[in-house]
Symmetry: D3
Subunit: 130 residues, 6 copies
């Protein structure tokens, strides 16, 4: 598969997330809107730095086995300066805590990371809800 | 995407569910068959009305993060007269109970609801197992 | 066991929840505090009434198999006027969606409901976080 | 702890399960009653024998991390002739599939098995819903 | 859909799994590598035979609702001589323990089994991680 | 409750874990033993430091809602120098990702942390399996 096609898959994922977030927030439901705002606030720099918090979000997503959330936090981690070695150590924690049931999600996480690193110039998305 | 294409995706989902339910029930396994019958019975009008029961099924599916089950109950809720405002309040309960890990499923739920409401004339399917 | 002892167990549960909520909210963490406020807001009367929302919270808690959350929503449902027949229909949805793994939690839910109805004069607690 | 006390803990577990199953089935809810009947039917001798089915129930309970269900199936497996070596191999599958999060439940499973084998003369309970 | 196309979907699944396992193991992370080795070791003949262990892996995957893991163990079970009747009895345990939320995964499991049996000559893959 | 009694509860938890780990490892099952060894290895200093890895283990345990695992990692985090502010930020990630269903476990986590900090001189246990 060419780099352009790989970039397209990351772009498609990002576009769907962006479009549906807008659809969801367009509806006048204050609990939903506040939850989305709180989600964004959660990963801001504080007593723990952004990098650590994104790693926490990544491992939480991995053991709960949500591919979209994992992809999102992989991109955020990379944007926060997490190296591939660090990413794999985070993966190892998720794998041991969550078991072999995590493996298919780990495959897709590494596939997504490979695409991100594939020289297609895809930037990590701004923080808009895992 | 055109309304016709959107309708196709809902139709494809419905067709696969119908075909595989038939395949499953064709096998002579009494426990499986009884479970399917019990599942249908669960959502019948009783002390709680159908609308309330479908909302219960929707939120249970959302916090357990099963896209097919969510789509199914979104369609059933709509057929039972649940308004978009009520649907979003049910979503908000699922989101707060289940956390941000629910968000990707919420996106797909709203996308499915949009397709259903997209003027493609797709009716909610008869109750045949989440 | 006497009614007084049964009341004690419900009271002990309520006291621990109240004490620890205060401990948690005493810490200056804005995300945690906002989450607790949002949780309270979720079950307020809106497009869906309080009774329906508490039933949604009950079934969500049952399929996610959290005894404390189930006990809490059983008490809230009862305070909102949910009858025993309606409670059991909500239980039946949780049981069929969540499977036999839910049964031990159903036992404790019915045990808690029995204690609440045991004439010990325990009122449902004010809404302070599942 | 004496053997008598250990037997008491197994007996207490069995008594609560029995008492609450009766309370649940006393309520006139046909879906709940049918689910309980179906649960019993599931583990009957068929294409797979009782021993294999109980092992399946044990591992399913272990990865879903339900202590009561695990205890129940440990007792049933033992009654069906599962040896300690076979039990530990089933545990190993549950541990590797489910991850380290299973370990606390594995501890309680082995503790329960030790109590059962502790010469206190506790028999496995009749099959009445995990 | 023709048998050739059906074979293609099974082949595509196998190829992605194989390629990503190689990508994952290419990274020098000893915990991840050891976990993969341990996963393979888990299903080897021992006190329980391979057929029983694969059935345990299948039901664990079903109640944890991981389609890739289910597909993998369906193929392994078939290679170990599990009949369709036995497979459905294992499915029935997973369905009753895990509830109706398992149904969409059951549909895909039966669909995958149908493809495997579709005369396309696809062999079960060697044991390389769920 | 006196500080001595609080220390007793932490000590009781530690003693049961230690005793059962020994019982489990006493059985000659190589997969189980290797899993326990791998679990210990996972949290060793590497590309990520021990403190970060323990925080990852804590949040993973919190979203998977395992009280024993949470208690264990709270003690380990504290031994690795995690401050109360940092602990609460990790809690906030777990709470937002995992939802209100996490709250009862958060209560017990904070209760456990309070006991640890209660001047009873309880040291964090050596790393022997969450």
């Amino acid at each position: 598969m060419s780099g352009a096609e790989e970039g397209d898959r990351v772009a498609e994922f990002t576009a769907f997330r962006k479009r549906m977030n807008e659809r969801i927030l367009a509806h006048d439901n204050q609990v939903v809107r506040r939850f989305f705002a709180l989600d964004t606030q959660t990963y801001r720099d504080g007593a723990l730095d952004v990098k650590t918090k994104e790693l926490l979000g990544l491992v939480a997503s991995l053991v709960l086995r949500c591919d979209d959330c994992v992809s999102y936090h992989v991109a955020e981690c990379r944007a926060a300066g997490v190296t591939r070695d660090e990413m794999f150590e985070a993966f190892s924690v998720g794998l041991v805590v969550g078991g072999s049931i995590v493996i298919p999600h780990l495959r897709r996480a590494v596939d997504f990371l490979d695409r991100l690193e594939g020289g297609t110039g895809v930037d990590a998305p701004p923080h808009t809800h895992g």
